[in-house]
Symmetry: C2
Subunit: 391 residues, 2 copies
């Protein structure tokens, strides 16, 4: 008898897949006493726990069917419930409920990508999306991101030089990790390119509801069949429910439904029913979003003020108008070695290179303000300053 | 401007994937007045709805963290909660919580199968498993199933002739669709072959708790590193929670955790907490399983009696000792055309060929007794008999 040989048995994908840098980092950031600006998670104190508990009680009392096997595409009511996150009433045949919007990213890659197909993503981008695309053997093409989001002119040059992507992945509102908003002219430009070159735009929008000031930019390509929209309850209700949506052309949604059937049959019907109740109460949901927006806005302000007060011109950053992240550059300071010292000093962040594809941004870091107590930002930034001094 | 071209954009997998026959059939079986023996679903009247509602209330009141992002491998308590379904206390490092055991089937294929690798499955088999394996480009090798489960002698012949599978998929207890139990000698034989030829056994056991008479057969290869076990709450609590488990060698579970991270980050933490509460109350869980076993046993008996009384020697079947399915042969009657007539007469079942890989079993059908009222079996079988007469 011999033990199984993992190297012989694992698939090529599984042999090359790596655990994410974020996940490994979070282990250190969880130590007691560390003020963590490393996480990409919402504040549990802002979850509407009582309302979720009441909704769970109501839906379970009303219909035991809420615990039965369900439609792979999601219950019709749950599909329609995404309306306030889309800003329009969707056609339910164009909507799929997913197990978090992460599953939407996985399924869209599964149905669109053959090995070696190109997927375009901003550089930097949300790591979980890049992992999902790579797990389906996509070749990632990196397009720089600046203060106004993806630099669409660079994409146009590459398309004219022959680039033919399956899709372009974009987080247009308060992008993770940069906090940037894709400008209105770039949104329009991107749609024109999609129509001219025949690719899809996968628009992921977990943070769109969390705008603290400034004016909302109109959604990318409203009414265009070239846009696939992903929405999520993770930042506006609670991530543990694992409910997201994909809205897109029917041929794509149909293919994703078939792929989802073998992936997990359907998303928790209990979670779907809870989310349907809460998003269906339009007044309550609007008030709830206003309340969490207020709380996160206070934290954004407190972080910006502490950075300016304590670090002055030793740091440069764009004040994010929403979301959870601030993208800061520390001229002359390498953020990867800085992190180890910062953790010793009791503060955590994520170095920019954790999120980059081709670019190397040694002096930049992502600071998340979502889970820090407003009173702790001064201490957090003082610890960061001390770590900079010690580096 | 032109519309996106699905044929040009869809991946090879997505272009060839087909919706399942079961799903299309269930549409007809849902018509009012039809007694459906077609479904593979448990009876919602047997879901412990009040206990699930109370558990939801308790876990939400105790810890808001139950709604936060969680570990990709599952909360430690939720991993340990599988103990009563495994029959032993697991090492949590060898366990992964999945979004239903369907996700376990998808992930195990994702991490073990390169395009063209062989996966062995019984013929017939659970369709959802075959779909998951095919979606990862596995070549399926079909091994016949008889009254004592997979015919392991045939597998041995093929292995000796050079077959080298990534893994062998087996539902050893009350297999869907045949209801067969893999015999003890065949279980031992299969493990010897796995050790000799270096493959894994993926043992999926959604029905193991539902034994109505006879003696339980010892689990396949206890303690063997060649066995990967999948368990599920879908048939003992409720499928809508979407909680399953995979237990296996650590190298495999680690690879599946990485694959799951990009698939859906983690399974609903609320569902995990509910399941942990209910399975953790050992006395309650044992009583609950005994109660649903009793109810399903009554239905198994009622179906067998109605078939014998009404159809006599026009039908042959093995009385299943558990599970939800009875596999019946109607000599001289083709079950695919019979289905259309049966639906007109107000009764539904699934023709055997919906579940086969290579075999053609034109005269056989799967009858599910799980969701039929015991008083309705006589009528159901009379309608079936009338359809046979009319064919």
């Amino acid at each position: 008898m011999h033990d199984p040989d993992p190297l012989a048995l694992l698939s090529a994908t599984a042999r090359t897949a790596k655990s994410s840098v974020i996940r490994d980092l979070l282990e250190h950031a969880k130590r007691p006493g560390v003020i963590s600006m490393a996480g990409g998670i919402p504040d549990p104190d802002l979850f509407p726990v009582e309302e979720i508990a009441r909704a769970a009680g109501r839906v379970l009392a009303a219909d035991r069917g809420v615990l039965q096997y369900g439609l792979t595409s999601g219950e019709v009511g749950a599909r329609m419930a995404v309306a306030p996150l889309l800003g329009h009433e969707p056609d339910p045949e164009r909507v799929l409920v997913t197990t978090g919007s992460q599953q939407g990213l996985d399924l869209v890659a599964k149905v669109l990508v053959d090995a070696g197909d190109v997927v375009v993503a901003g550089d930097p981008s949300y790591l979980g999306a890049l992992q999902a695309f790579r797990s389906h053997h996509a070749d990632l093409e990196a397009i720089p991101v600046d203060e106004a989001g993806m630099v669409v002119d660079v994409l146009e040059e590459r398309l004219e030089a022959g680039l033919r992507p399956s899709f372009v992945y974009v987080v247009a509102n308060f992008q993770n990790p940069t906090g940037a908003v894709l400008s209105a002219p770039r949104r329009a430009h991107l749609v024109r390119l999609a129509e001219r070159f025949g690719f899809l735009i996968v628009e992921d929008d977990p943070y769109g509801q969390l705008r603290y000031d400034g004016v909302a930019v109109a959604p990318i390509g409203e009414g265009s069949d070239h846009v696939v929209r992903m929405r999520s309850t993770s930042k506006v209700l609670a991530p543990g429910l694992r409910v997201g949506w994909t809205e897109g052309p029917r041929w794509l949604v149909d293919a994703m439904v078939i792929a989802k059937q073998s992936a997990d049959l359907h998303t928790s019907t209990l979670s779907q029913a809870i989310v349907t109740e809460l998003l269906g109460d339009a007044d309550w949901f609007a008030d709830h979003v206003a309340a969490i927006r207020h709380q996160y806005g206070i934290r954004r302000d407190a972080l910006c003020e502490a950075l300016t007060t304590t670090l002055g011109d030793r740091i440069s950053f764009q004040r994010p108008e929403g979301g959870m992240f601030l993208w800061a550059t520390l001229p002359g300071v390498e953020t990867m070695p800085l992190l180890a010292t910062a953790l010793e000093n009791g503060v955590a962040f994520v170095p920019a290179d954790a999120f980059t594809i081709d670019a190397h941004r040694p002096h930049t870091a992502r600071l998340s303000f979502a889970t820090v107590d407003p009173e702790d930002f001064t201490t957090a930034v003082e610890r960061l300053a001390a770590a900079i001094d010690a580096c």
